[in-house]
Amino acid sequence: MASPDLLFNLRNLFYLGAYQAAINNSDVPGLDADAAAERDAIVFRSYVALGSYQLVISEIDSSAATSLQAVKLLALYLSGDKESAIVSLKEWLSDSAVGSNPVLRLIAGIIFMHEQDYTEALKHTHSGGTLDLHALNVQIFIKMHRSDYAEKQLKIMQQIDEDHTLTQLANAWLDIAVGGSKIREAYLIFQDFAEKYPMTGMVLNGKAVCCMHMGSFDEAETLLLEALNKDAKDPETLANLIVCNLHLGKPSSRYLSQLKLSHPDHVLVKRAVSAEDNFERALQAVA
């Protein structure tokens, strides 16, 4: 029989947003070199996801593997040193020896996505190669409102491994993006995760988003409050809770101030801020 997939658990924890658990469970014995490299990449990406950028920057020295260097670039970028991060990123990408490293390309995709330069992002990710890259493609296409392309990417993922957590997740993202009856399927996918793995804020948020789109804001609120119990500062939980409370006609200003304080650059905060400017501008335009 094929050898057991030792990183299975670790990957799942990471994809489902249990970053600290992923880090804590990263000590997997009996890994070969490739698996160990993948493990390290996941661990450092978890740290990045937790916001420990400096840790990542200082831990990864120049002798580390390309994939880890790429993660370091991401940490660098997210820690605010955008320009130098992009410069070195481009340098790396143009290097034929390492330019095709899937993790590097993935990170490139993520960084350019942050830059909202989807064309550039896709340039590096479109050829795929790993499920991560395809999943990122799905996400980029969803952001570009091109669910037709996203679906093609998902098909590829399903051919590779239909039951993979990432495939299922990407499926759920796409289902939510296209809406309609697919929302129910997305909900069931998140429900499956909830049954099979430890409940994470990400899964709860996923379920809650589905509930909101199905019009059951009450249930969404329950789920989000549960997520808030797990992590009181999770930006998505707060954002979704604000949206949910708005729809329920409940006061949401406290959560908004909380989100403004902790994540001033969150899409929702930006949206709120831009809405006010927008309003003033519109007033002028109409008047």
Partner: protein
């Protein structure tokens, strides 16, 4: 063939099942008749009175009788209860081949080698008919199950059917004795009571067996020509229908199956063959290596067969009778009569879901074997042995329940077993390659996974996991990780039952139940002598299972017991409290109610839920020797203690559980030496010195007592003991005590008193008591003993005791719930003792707890700090991220082309959902949600003439903020905002965008209206005004679905407008202090607004009062009248009537600008009446009216629109634009 029981013996020639009990008679060639319990597998009895082989044997249907016939020409009737042969029927002149009771009359039919068949009356013990006609050995004869017929087979190559109608008539009306006598005569001459009806010729050799079909006019026969023939008969004739060829040697016995359309035959060729009775083809053959078959027998009620052969017999079943079922939540899905059905436990409703396919080939055991159900997809997998193992997948539409006509094409596949492993995935076992195929609901292979062990069946084991069963063990295998999660040695598991929380699993094999946890860690194994059939977990974690004849329980620790005895096997599907739901062999759902208290009690004990235990003890009659011995056995003497009244048992239990208080109490009651002694030992063991002392005192065991005092340091008490010993003339004791005390003087004195002068002298001298020594020396005179020379002397003083305090330190004894509750009578003085004893350590104990608590707190604190640190980190991260908001100019140039981009062209971005919203819609709310505030404003301006948008700002922002939810996708990549759409339904097609779900809805407005009404009633006018205004401000952004609702919205605007106007005037009135006339006018105008009655009454009351006070009696009277018309309450009405009386006929004292006879509206800005016919302008949104001079100003009512502006009107539903 499913063999249920097998015996080894001499050749079996005759067999008979008991109609009710699990017994079978086997008559042997050796002359012995055996009675077996085939369920337990034991020989119950043997009857050995025949001389030579016994070929025929038969149980009576109702009486405790059986009949046997043998080669000794004798027919014997036995009572198996008394184990006696009741009588013997003589008459046959040769070997007897078969004997059979009639199902109704007291008759026995026998076939014999003397070429006759005889019918006997076993009550009168006479032969009532002799059937002659065969001209060779008659090999078998049997009654028809319903009609007055007998069929016989003979070596003369014929089968004969005999009509015994005349015999029956004679028996039914036996009154005519004379007639009977004449008939008896005719009997002697060949008989007319039984006449040959048909002679069936066709076999080429002697016929060994013939038997009737249980319901149809058919006969089947088997002969030495190796053929089985099927015959049909009607009223007038009988004819051969078909011949079944296949046996290689003489067919010894053949019969129709009672329940299935098959024929079973056996032969000397060592085989049993099963034939399809309709198609007349062989279905199956079972062979034995060395044994020729001689006889077959079918159970009259159950689906069991037995066959006798050269070296014993077998009891077997042709097909499984277990219905395929699967429990899911509140329902059990199962297959019955070719239909998939489900049954709801709570409602006990049974629904037929869908028909399932009939297997193509006719052979045995093709019915569904297992069933697996996926609740979310409503899909069912049915596995059977068809084609060497195959499955069918049915996806049942939710709405088809109950529609039996619905038949779909099932998706099929081959595979040993198939189960769902996830919502939309199932695994199929491919035995040949030992791998599982994971398939989706389209029956497409998604994945293949090799299995770690040689698997012959798979079962569900949680999402994505499989429980694989091999010959000798089971493993749980994770299909995704390809990891073995658990393994357990458990031979030939047949069924797997998971608890509802998936934490525990029960593995059922033929004779064992193994309980394990979800990682297959073994918990306990139960062995059963009788086959285990089924099981289910109850909600407390007790496993309830059935054997063939019992319902039993198994506690988590492996204790088991019988709950109920069963008559027929059942298959448990679900256990809810005392109710056990099950399926029987016919696929019927049944509910068995059992008394669960015993195992619940034991479970509570096991879990140390003593409160529960106690309430059970109090409320039910559980007490009994069995319970006490169980408790004692299981190490709960302290619990058992509370059941027992008998003091001796109580004492023993108390000692066993170390409960010294109760032991003391019991010892007091019993008060004998032995018990005190044992109490003393236990108390000493525990170090309870007080009790030890007490026990020794009670037994007057002074030596022990004294020694106890010595070692515990009570020297004064030792001295006291010394005195007592002296009083009792116990010299030895006295001396001992003196020795303990180290009192040399005393010792000398004792010795002296005892007359042991030399000893006294030596003692005195040794201890340097020279005075006494001298005196003693004098008394002794010459007999002074010599003292050893040159030895150093030392004082004989006992060492000081280490602990000179009372009891030894004891650990605090837990005061169980039992002490308080059950033992309320409880022997109180001793409990105090106990507490005192516990004190020393008890405190320290507590300290330790505190300390550990402190530790825990400390730990918490630490955690919290760490958490905070993390959170700070997070915040930092958050702030860092802010830098992202750098202006987009920082973006890298888009056309930084390299090789890769040349090939790949990224697709242009699609259209955001919010853009789609604005394109389709001319509703302001939807534009605002999409963030297009300018178009929203233009729409509002055009539709409603709104110019002042300031009050709408928070509403716009909320709409926009609530328009998207946020989905975190890949870690650290930007999150995806998803547009929230309205009107979702299960059937909505994807990719078709709906309108936005707005955060403001019409129902919300209705709620706000109620709140505003309430504020008005309570007189909180500013608050009420604020509420009404908020409604008025929100309405322009509302979207409703139907025309009707549009009208309701418009109505709402009017209602709110009236209130806003009225409240504004009321507030204005309150501001005016001096201008009483204006005050009255405003109050009067308020009454002109359209209000709720309750408010109208209040307004009228206030206006009436105001006018009355100002002596404007006519107006006041008018208000009073209006008030009375508005259903006032008692007080209001009284006041109104008073005002009416006071005012009637009087005139107003001052002129008011208020003419109630002339209809008017009030200007929303100046609050003056605009009488009918006068010119006015109105607000394009709220419709308030104003005097013409106000035109062009902002409406003071709604604060939004410009009075008199051009507007197309409210648009708040997509239905309006159609």
């Amino acid at each position: 063939m499913l063999t249920k029981f097998e015996t080894k013996s001499n050749r079996v020639k005759g067999l008979s099942f008991h109609p009710r009990r699990p017994w079978i008679l086997a008559s042997l060639h050796s002359g012995v008749i055996q009675m077996w319990d085939y369920r337990m597998g034991t020989l119950l009895d043997r009857f050995d009175e025949h001389d030579g082989p016994v070929r025929g044997v038969h149980f009576h249907a109702t009486q405790p009788l059986f009949v046997s016939g043998g080669d000794d020409y004798k027919i014997k009737v036995w009572n198996y209860k008394t184990h006696r042969c009741l009588f013997t029927l003589h008459g046959h002149l040769d070997y007897i081949r078969t004997v059979q009771f009639h199902h109704e009359y007291p008759w026995i039919v026998s076939a014999s080698d003397d070429q006759t068949i005889r019918i006997w009356n076993w009550q009168s013990r006479t032969c009532v008919a002799v059937l002659t006609g065969h001209n060779h050995y008659v090999m078998c004869a049997s009654f028809h199950p319903k009609e007055d017929l007998v069929v016989s087979a003979s070596l003369d190559q014929t089968v004969r059917v005999w009509d015994i109608g005349a015999l029956r008539k004679k028996t039914v009306s036996p009154a005519d004795d004379i007639l009977r006598l004449t008939q008896m005569n005719t009997d002697l001459f060949g008989g007319v009571d039984a006449v040959v009806k048909y002679v069936l010729e066709g076999h080429d050799r002697g016929v060994n067996w013939a038997s009737f079909h249980p319901t149809l006019p058919l006969i089947v026969s088997g002969a030495d020509d190796r053929q089985v023939k099927l015959w049909r008969m009607n009223d007038t004739k009988a004819w051969e229908v078909d011949t079944l060829r296949g046996h290689m040697n003489n067919v010894s016995c053949v019969m129709f199956h009672a329940k299935q359309d098959i024929i079973v035959s056996n032969s000397e060729d060592k085989s049993i063959r099963i034939w399809d009775a309709t198609k007349r083809t062989g279905i199956q053959t079972f062979r034995r290596e060395h044994d020729r078959f001689w006889i077959l027998s079918a159970h009259p009620e159950m689906n069991l067969l037995a066959a006798g052969h050269d070296s014993g017999m077998i009891v077997f079943k042709l097909e499984r009778e277990r219905p395929a079922f699967s429990v899911s939540g509140d329902t059990v899905f199962y297959v019955k009569d070719r239909f998939l059905r489900f049954f709801e436990f709570t409602t006990q409703k049974e629904v037929q879901l869908a028909p399932i396919r009939r297997p193509g080939s006719v052979s045995l055991n093709q019915s569904p074997k297992t069933l697996s159900y996926s609740p979310t997809e409503n899909a069912v997998l049915i596995c059977s042995d068809v084609d060497g193992g195959s499955y069918e997948l049915y996806i049942v539409p939710k709405d088809s329940a109950g529609r039996a006509d619905y038949l779909q094409d099932a998706k099929k596949g081959a595979g040993g077993s198939a189960v769902f492993v996830a919502r939309n995935r199932f695994a199929v076992l491919e035995k040949s390659s030992n791998q599982v195929l994971v398939k989706n609901l389209k029956n497409e292979i998604v994945k293949k996974s090799p299995l770690p062990i040689a698997t012959d069946a798979i079962y569900y084991a949680g999402t994505g996991n499989l429980l694989c069963k091999a010959e000798d063990r089971v493993t749980i295998f994770d299909l995704q990780q390809r990891l073995i999660l658990g393994e357990l040695q458990a031979p030939s598991v047949k069924y797997v039952v998971w608890s509802s929380d998936m934490e525990s699993v029960a593995l059922l094999s033929k004779h064992a139940v193994v309980i394990a946890n979800k990682k297959l860690v073994h918990r306990c194994t139960l062995h059963e002598t009788i086959r285990v059939k089924s099981g289910a977990w109850d909600e407390n974690g007790v496993f309830i299972y059935t054997t063939l004849n019992h319902i039993k329980y198994c506690l988590p620790n492996g204790d088991s017991g019988i709950i109920k005895t069963l008559d027929v096997p059942i298959y448990i599907t679900r256990v809810i409290g005392n109710n056990i739901f099950c399926l029987d062999r016919d696929g019927k759902n049944k509910l068995v109610t059992v008394d669960a208290s015993e195992y619940i009690f034991k479970l509570a004990l096991l879990r140390k839920r003593y409160d529960h235990v106690m309430s059970m003890i109090k409320n039910s009659q559980l007490c009994g020797q069995a319970v006490i011995s169980y408790l004692q056995q299981k190490g709960f003497p302290e619990v058992a203690l509370h059941f027992v009244k008998d003091e001796k048992t109580r004492f023993n239990l108390a000692l066993e559980s170390g409960n010294i208080q109760i032991a003391v109490a019991s010892a007091k009651e019993i008060d004998d030496k032995d018990h005190w002694y044992r109490l003393g030992i236990e108390a000493l063991r525990q170090g309870n010195v007080g009790i030890v002392e007490y026990a020794y005192q009670r037994t007057k065991n002074f030596e022990r007592l004294a020694f106890l005092y010595l070692i515990t340091g009570y020297m004064d008490k030792v001295g006291f003991m010394c005195k007592i010993a002296g009083q009792n003339n116990n010299l030895m004791g006295q001396f001992h005590n003196a020795l303990y005390l180290g009192d040399a003087l005393k010792r000398v004195e004792i010795l002296e008193n005892a007359g042991q002068l030399p000893l006294a002298y030596i003692t005195a001298t040794t201890h340097g008591l020279t005075e006494i020594a001298d005196r003693l020396a004098a008394e002794l005179g010459e007999n002074i003993p010599s003292l050893p020379e040159g030895k150093a002397r030392s004082l004989l003083i006992p060492p000081a005791p280490l602990t000179a305090s009372g009891d030894w330190p004891l650990l605090r004894v837990m005061h169980g719930i039992f002490e308080g509750g059950l033992d309320a009578t409880g022997k109180a003085e001793l409990e105090e003792d106990d507490e005192a004893a516990g004190a020393d350590w008890g405190d320290e104990d507590l300290d330790m707890v505190d300390a550990s608590e402190a530790m825990a707190n400390g730990g918490d604190g630490f955690d919290a700090e760490e958490g905070e640190a993390n959170e700070e980190d997070g915040e930092e991260g958050g702030w860092d991220l802010e830098d992202l908001e750098l202006p987009p100019e920082a973006e890298t140039p888009k056309n930084a082309g390299n090789a890769r981009s040349a090939v790949f062209v990224a697709p242009p971005p699609g259209m955001p959902v919010s853009l789609i919203w604005t394109q389709k819609s001319s509703l302001a709310g939807e534009h605002a949600a999409a963030g297009n505030f300018d178009t929203a404003m233009r729409l509002l301006s055009r539709q409603l003439g709104i110019k002042n948008f300031a009050p709408l700002k928070p509403l716009f922002v909320d709409l926009h903020m609530g328009s998207h939810s946020y989905l975190r996708a890949l870690a650290t990549a930007p999150i995806i905002p998803i547009a929230v759409e309205k009107g979702w339904s299960e059937s909505a097609s994807p990719n078709v965008r709906g309108p936005p779900a707005l955060v403001f809805t019409f129902p919300q407005m209705e709620d706000r209206l109620k709140a505003a009404y309430k504020a008005t009633t309570d007189g909180k006018f500013p608050e009420a005004l604020r509420q009404f205004l908020s409604i008025l401000h929100t309405i322009p952004l509302i979207v409703v679905d139907s025309r009707r609702e549009v009208d309701e919205v418009k109505e709402l605007i009017e209602i709110v407008r009236e209130y806003v106007l009225g409240l504004r005037m009321e507030l204005k009135r309150k501001e005016l202090r001096d201008d009483v006339n204006r005050q009255q006018e405003l109050a009067a105008y308020f009454t002109n607004c359209k209000l709720q009655r309750v408010h109208m009454r209040l307004v009228l009351g206030s206006a009436m009062g105001l006018c009355y006070k100002q002596k404007n009696f006519a107006t006041a009277e008018h208000f009073a009248r209006m008030l009375l018309e508005n259903n006032p309450n008692e007080a209001q009405a009284r006041r109104a009537r008073q005002v009416q009386q006071q005012c009637s006929g009087k005139k107003d004292s001052s002129e008011l600008n208020y003419d109630y006879r002339n209809p008017f509206v009030v200007c929303g800005a100046t609050y003056v009446p605009i009488y009918r016919g006068q010119k006015d302008v109105s607000c394009p949104y709220c419709g308030s009216r104003f005097v013409p001079s106000i035109e062009g100003q902002l409406c003071t009512i709604c604060e939004l629109a410009v009075v008199g502006a051009d507007a197309s009107g409210l648009l708040c539903s997509p239905t309006q634009s159609r």
